[in-house]
């Protein structure tokens, strides 16, 4: 290592203590390695997906086409078809992964992900409303945000008796999800066939030809949201113990709770406005990050990276398994994540999020 190790002996086990010009930074070794590994895997799969397809390119061709060089076919393939899809998958996966990690930690329950407690369905219902009623390109994102907040507020308010933790909260969330699902069906039943077709991707979760504007908004939202999430990690890590401990250590509980919930809603809604309800990403990605880190912390960044990787890979599987028929990424994730969800539920009944 070239970075000077200050007080190497005082660093806790499994950590590196970096000291640069009087600043001290404690880094969990495995988390850093896991993050680097995930970044490499992500870069490799992005590169592979950019060059492979029905028309193979070389990496050099693909990179030149991405900047607008090369023959028109390659430019069209890369800039119009492959790149937007990859970016949409990357961003939405990252947003869902981070949101899942935040909400799981907040609720102290690994099953409390935005998808399970109905935030996805709320965002979907409102986004579908925007397609059916006001067909402008910006509306889905704005309405998805309001739908997601409605669902989150409902879930928290209605579960108030049992607090935000425990299974009661989750069943209330399931019921809210069912309500919003019924609302979506109601609107689809009333809409004419064109509007219903336009709204279809939002009901299963698909990365096919997503509106560019929503992807831009998601990118901006993620750029704002991830640093904010990183700031919340420290108080959240303390809140995993008990409320009393957290208060004693100086955490402003109501404020942190509100901020975390707002951030979860923000990330989930922006992602759902792009890709639709692919909620199981938010369940699987944090688990994957936690497994890779081997640390009982709040791995927000690694969850985001895992989410992006999972989303991109699931989309690739969906496009190739039954080609030329495309399986929406939501269905792939349901088939992969469903057994996993069952396994969590049935295998380790007493274990809560640690």
């Amino acid at each position: 290592m070239n970075i000077p190790l200050a007080h190497a002996s005082s660093a806790p086990r499994d950590h590196w203590l970096l000291g640069i010009a009087g600043l001290r930074l404690l880094i969990h070794r495995r988390s850093l390695l896991a993050g680097i590994g995930l970044c490499l895997a992500l870069a490799a799969s992005l590169g592979w997906l950019l060059i492979a397809g029905t028309h193979d390119l070389t990496l050099w061709q693909a990179l030149r086409a991405a900047t607008g060089d090369g023959n028109p076919l390659q430019v069209l393939l890369v800039r119009e078809l492959r790149l937007p899809r990859l970016v949409a998958g990357l961003l939405s996966g990252a947003a869902l992964g981070a949101a899942g990690c935040l909400l799981q930690t907040l609720a102290r329950n690994r099953l409390a992900t935005p998808g399970v407690i109905g935030i996805d369905d709320g965002a979907t219902a409102f986004a579908v409303a925007s397609i059916v009623a006001v067909p402008t390109s910006l509306a889905p994102t704005a309405l998805a945000l309001s739908g997601a907040s409605t669902a989150a507020v409902l879930a928290f308010a209605l579960a108030a008796g049992g607090g935000a933790r425990g299974y009661r909260f989750i069943v209330v969330g399931i019921a809210i999800g069912v309500l919003f699902g019924a609302l979506t069906n109601l609107m689809l039943a009333r809409a004419d066939i064109d509007a219903a077709n336009a709204a279809y991707p939002w009901t299963v979760g698909s990365l096919n030809a997503r509106p560019a504007q929503a992807v831009w908004l998601l990118g901006i939202g993620l750029a704002l949201g991830l640093p904010a999430a990183k700031l919340l990690v420290r108080p959240l890590a303390v809140m995993r113990f008990s409320d009393n401990v957290a208060i004693g250590l100086g955490v402003d509980l109501p404020r942190i709770r509100l901020l975390t919930l707002a951030l979860t809603v923000w990330l989930t809604a922006l992602a759902v406005a792009v890709v639709g309800p692919v909620g199981l990403i938010a369940l699987v990605a944090p688990e994957m990050a936690r497994y890779l880190c081997r640390q009982h912390g709040v791995p927000v960044v690694n969850s985001a990276l895992s989410g992006a990787l999972l989303m991109v890979l699931a989309d690739w599987v969906g496009r190739t398994v039954l080609a030329p028929v495309e399986i929406p990424v939501g269905i792939i994730m349901a088939i992969v994540g469903g057994p996993y969800l069952l396994w969590i539920l049935l295998r380790q009944p007493s274990r809560t999020l640690t």
């Binding site: 209605l158 299974y167 069912v178 109601l186 039943a189 349901a334």
Partner: protein, 333 residues
């Protein structure tokens, strides 16, 4: 448990009255052009051919089907709740309906046609779903926790739904045959549906009859039930068989209609207490009431279109699910 709140005969009588009123309303009201006046005329032998066709053929069939499905789902829900001792157990929530629909989708994609095979197949699928429920309730720590059971059911349902859509994507013919069926609607079923679902329903109810007393004993706890000379495991197994028959029949006839099995036992408990013997009669009468009311609403809400009846039951059932979960202590069964 709580004492009965209302005398049983009063409840049965008023539920019966309500049922007949709803049957009449179901014959008279519709999404189309035939209004109450012409329908009444047709009902008493007058009216033109159009009105008679609509009232007797379309709405009549629908009403019969709604009654059959309502009885099956109401009784199935009550029995499932009694057997699992879980007030949240509902065939739809626990994945029994999803098992039935998945089995039908598989059968149709393997070459069966929607009309002929679906009852046997749906019952088989519902049974697989029931057996899974039974296995899950045997797991330590899961069976006693009503909420975790529901979560497992939700996960199971999501998985089966995704697998079904995978099959449907792959195969256009299946998609066309099944698309209509998986929504869960009472309209547009063939007249045969009633004639083959009636035996399934009756068989299911016959299986139930000798089980009522052991089930009532089971609500006191397994040890007490064995002490009273019953066989808890056997009772549970037979009950789940009956539930599979009932729910499979209903699902084969009308597609998956959720939440009826939650709403009806909830109402029955409110009305006559949690005794299975009293509740079953009430559930058999209230089930058709709920399905009929939902079906009538589904015709009237978005005229001139119609809603799938499952959407209406979800709007009623989800708040009740929240209410049950929120109630301070989950009512023990």
């Amino acid at each position: 448990m709580t004492a009965a709140r209302l005398p049983l005969p009063t409840v049965l009588l008023s539920a019966g009255l309500l049922l007949s009123v709803l049957c009449l309303a179901s014959l008279l009201l519709g999404a189309g052009d035939v209004g109450i006046g012409p329908s009444l005329a047709a009902l008493f032998g007058g009216g033109d051919d159009d009105a008679r066709f609509v009232v007797f053929e379309l709405r009549g069939l629908r009403t019969e089907l709604a009654v059959l499905v309502g009885v099956a789902l109401g009784a199935g829900g009550l029995l499932l709740q009694a057997a699992t001792r879980n007030p949240l157990a509902e065939p739809g929530l626990l994945g029994v309906s999803a098992g039935a629909s998945f089995a039908v989708v598989v059968a149709i994609s393997l070459g069966a046609s929607a009309g002929t095979l679906s009852l046997a197949v749906a019952v088989l699928g519902a049974m697989v779903g029931c057996v899974l429920v039974l296995l899950v309730t045997q797991l330590r720590g899961v069976g006693d926790d009503p909420v975790r059971l529901v979560l497992a059911g939700a996960a199971f349902t999501g998985l089966l739904t995704a697998l079904s859509s995978l099959l449907l994507l792959q195969d256009q013919r299946t998609a066309d045959e099944v698309r209509f069926w998986v929504i869960g609607a009472l309209a547009g079923r063939s007249p045969d549906t009633v004639s083959w679902s009636l035996p399934g329903l009756i068989l299911g109810l016959l299986v139930v009859l000798p089980l009522v007393r052991p089930l009532a004993a089971l609500t006191l706890g397994e040890r007490v039930a064995s002490g009273l000379g019953h066989h808890p495991q056997l009772t549970r197994l037979a009950t789940l068989l009956a539930v599979a028959l009932l729910v499979g029949t209903a699902t084969a006839a009308a597609g998956p209609i959720g939440f009826v099995g939650l709403v009806v036992p909830f109402l029955a408990r409110r009305l006559v207490g949690s005794d299975v013997r009293r509740g079953l009669g009430v559930a058999i009468l209230l089930g058709p009431c709920v399905v009929l009311a939902a079906d009538i609403l589904s015709r009237l809400l978005v005229r001139p279109y119609e809603l799938p009846v499952g959407v209406v039951t979800a709007f009623v059932g989800a708040p009740i699910l929240i209410a049950v979960v929120r109630s301070h202590r989950l009512p023990s069964l």
